[in-house]
């Protein structure tokens, strides 16, 4: 089940000069499914990543950070599903490094030029023998137009692959952007059980690459939530292959920087929202806009309190305009000096609450009408400033419980 999630359009998944992708079935957890992906990057690319804030971050996340910091120039990525290599202690680190060494050996690279990614079950030993055995087949499969297969190979509980692309003119030169993502549960800010990879042939100075990745994550993946569980493995990597024939972007504030960032943000937001639309058991896609706050941060804090409330989420599942639950979540969001008499609540165009109380003109059937939609906008006006922010989430259904009660079986 997913909410208005469109399957990848192959015509939109542009090959990116300087990137080749290979996919294979390595039998990491289950037979007969694509579960191992290699991404090969030409020399000279700019690469940056943003990773989970979870202190129990998985071994591959630790190794990614170290390899990116080594400054040796990232030339390959190795992605497996079926096993997250998280909660695996020192042994997990050794195994993650081992897989990097194995791929580096095939490519005559240093191990630190390889970034490892794992997603799947936590606290089980990574089967490095199967990964190593699959590398040859994955490398033989490597080609530029393999984004669709890669988006399929990184799925776990996802029901639909997630891949989007865009093209934009930079200094009159057309550049391409393609991205893929996965993740349908354990999704919340500061990343998710989520892997996201984007590549462009645009030229971006390595010095601004980290800022670009951070701003893209901030505007997309860090604003979606399914269940509030911040995963151990969340990773978002951006690659600029520097192949396009325009002058390198040295500032995101330049016209070229803005143009590229906005185009990439459009793709990142589609990738992030696709994760919510495919949220485990999701039947509704809900935008939560909080306005009139003193700061953007407090608006996001309120939006997440609403988005994480099991009571709010089950009410959306039931299409029940039990909207007091939203006000209750606003109240416990943690804003110590919030005055309830300043608060208005809207459900799409329906004005539900005025100054902290029920709007006298509000009719239950109007709320009911909006709640029955599959796409709903909740708008809360705090009445204490000019800041605003938006997050996206889904409802909490029987299927969420079923999926997560059965995930390992």
């Amino acid at each position: 089940m997913s909410v208005n999630l469109i399957a990848p359009n192959p015509a939109e998944l542009f090959s990116i000069a300087g990137v080749r992708i290979g996919v294979t079935e390595a039998g990491i957890r289950k037979a007969n499914r694509k579960d191992l992906t290699v991404v090969l990057i030409d020399d000279g690319a700019s690469v940056a990543g943003v990773f989970t804030q979870n202190r129990f971050c998985a071994a591959p996340v630790q190794i990614c950070r170290e390899h990116l910091a080594s400054g040796n120039g990232i030339r390959a990525m190795l992605i497996n599903t079926g096993n997250a290599n998280a909660g695996t202690g020192e042994d997990g680190r050794v195994r993650a490094v081992h897989t990097c060494q194995a791929l580096a050996g095939h490519l005559s690279l240093k191990a630190s030029q390889v970034l490892p990614f794992s997603t799947g079950v936590i606290m089980e030993t990574l089967p490095i023998d199967r990964i190593e055995a699959g590398l040859q087949a994955a490398l033989q499969d490597a080609k530029p137009d393999n984004w669709l297969r890669a988006s399929e190979a990184i799925m776990t509980t996802d029901t639909i692959a997630k891949a989007f692309g865009a093209q934009v003119l930079i200094d009159g030169v057309q550049v391409s952007i393609t991205g893929i993502s996965k993740g349908a549960g354990m999704i919340r800010p500061n990343m998710a059980t989520m892997l996201g990879f984007m590549a462009t042939d645009a030229c971006v100075n390595p010095a601004v690459m980290k800022q670009l990745a951070t701003e893209l994550a901030e505007g997309s993946f860090n604003r979606v939530t399914v269940d509030g569980d911040t995963s151990t493995n969340d990773s978002f990597v951006v690659i600029a292959t520097n192949k396009a024939a325009h002058a390198p972007i040295t500032s995101l504030d330049s016209a070229a920087g803005q143009a590229l960032k906005n185009a990439m943000l459009g793709v990142a937001l589609k990738l992030a929202q696709a994760i919510v639309r495919d949220g485990e058991g999701a039947t509704k896609f809900i935008a939560i806009k909080v306005e009139g706050g003193k700061t953007q941060a407090e608006c996001r804090q309120v939006a997440y309190a609403i988005a994480h409330s099991p009571l709010v989420k089950t009410a959306f599942f039931a299409s029940d305009p039990n909207l007091g639950r939203i006000l209750a979540a606003v109240g416990y969001a943690g804003i110590a000096d919030l005055e309830q008499t300043g608060i208005d609540l809207y459900l799409d165009d329906v004005h539900v609450a005025v100054k902290g109380g029920r709007n006298p003109d509000y009719r239950e059937e109007d709320g009911q009408r909006v709640m029955k939609q599959t796409e709903i906008t909740v708008r809360v006006v705090l009445g204490r400033g000019d800041a605003a922010d938006t997050v996206w989430t889904c409802d909490l259904s029987h299927d969420y419980v079923t999926i997560n009660a059965d995930y390992r079986s």
Copy 2:
């Protein structure tokens, strides 16, 4: 459904000298159910309360705070179910005061000597006409041995009434303690959709009454969670009628103060845990002990992160030892300098994780055995200090979704 929750034992529900209780069916939301309770308190009692931290606190909570602060001496409580009088703005306050005035009129008291409590659906208008019409019958019903009926009259989605009692010697004088509570969802620290009332005939100086109520709440109701939703209406009130023939307790640190507090804490903890055992859809009762922290606060923070994780809760529902989800929750609990290599995890007597990784001796069948129990203790050792804390929670089941998707219908 509830987890090993014992129905009230009438023999344990001691009448408290100086307290009479009356119950009636006022038809507030549904016909033919007890929904209105009056508690009459003799002159000279010490009364204190602890209330929700939710900034969207309900009108009766606001009025309770004001009436307690008035210093006029609380002489009665008025409790309705079926309607929470929350999210009702200024009109809700007016209505709450109105019901206090009505009861005060019957009793020749000031309105400020009455505390109002409401629980039920949010954002609907309190039907004061029905409450007023029911007062006469409730008052006629008033008698000392009505605790059981009161515990039934305050239920909402509870499946079993919650009432416990205890007796203890204070300076050689036997005093009695009786308490009731309600609340099965919207439960989390800093109170819950929870009402709790305790009375004792012990003599407690008014000056230490607030401290007593706060410490009792801290040791009981503020350590339980069902779904993490802090309600708008949570209220916990403690009454000491000062009828017993011992010298008044002027310090909780005195021998008499300790004896009374410990006995009352035992009752409060039973009342609080009963709420979790009756948690909406609960099939498991789970104690989460976090040890080896730098502070008790950080231990509780970690315990609540585990207790609120939908992924952890659904794993318990499924009896699936998918224990990496617990480590992931520890990781995102918000302790910025947490080192995963210091962390051990136990499930009852089973040592699951050592230094952040899987215990080599851990066998899946051992974890499976514990997960199948209806009562489970999760123990996390942070390895960074000597502090510890415990919270209690339940699992997240299909029935939770069903109950909360259907609550208003």
